[in-house]
Amino acid sequence: MGQSELEILLEAPTTVAALKSMIKLPNGETLNAASRTQTIMTAVDQEMVDDSAMVSVTSEVAFFPPVTGG
């Protein structure tokens, strides 16, 4: 999926929405801005969540486009 990995040091738990505003795509746009024009799904610790979910300081977070298996 053209994965890239990124380690973010959080000082305190935060929301998915807040995390998305900290991450920039190669074109300079934040993930938060990008999710206004395309669907970006989020998994925290391998569970699908929405933007209001909390991210702990040790969470594994993944952002990806809609799935297309099957």
Binding site: M1, T39, A43, Q46, E47, M48, A62, F64, P65, P66, V67, T68, G69, G70
Partner: protein
Amino acid sequence: MYRSILIQADDFSLDRALTELKAQSGLAGGLCFFTGAVRNSNLDDAVGGLYLEHYPGMTERQLDQIVDEAARRWQLHGAIVVHRIGHLKPGDNIVLVAVSASHRGEAFEACEMIMDYLKTNATFWKKESIPDGHRWVEARSSDQAKATAWDA
């Protein structure tokens, strides 16, 4: 209830799945199977092949939750889900969902629900080879609608 969930590069066998369900889950009267295969065209482009990726760990757990949900709704004897990853050619099998139940209506419904949820909730992605190069396949809104319909 018996269950088996596998993500693998290798092909699968429907006859083996039938034998497995019969052996592991008692003498069910109705067994429904769905197989998805690689088509040779998409959006008017010839498709030379597919590359299938997943999110290891998470995908298995989601498939397990999807089977849980089916087992909550219907009285199932057993369910098998096999999803292939890696490079596939047109005509190759992609996915197998096999469900056994006492009655055929339950087997059909559970099998279709598992497929509909898998299409929208399991973290697999397809990249297809087309004459111009490669592209990630985009999700269809019709798949989302089918999955949502089960919650109505």
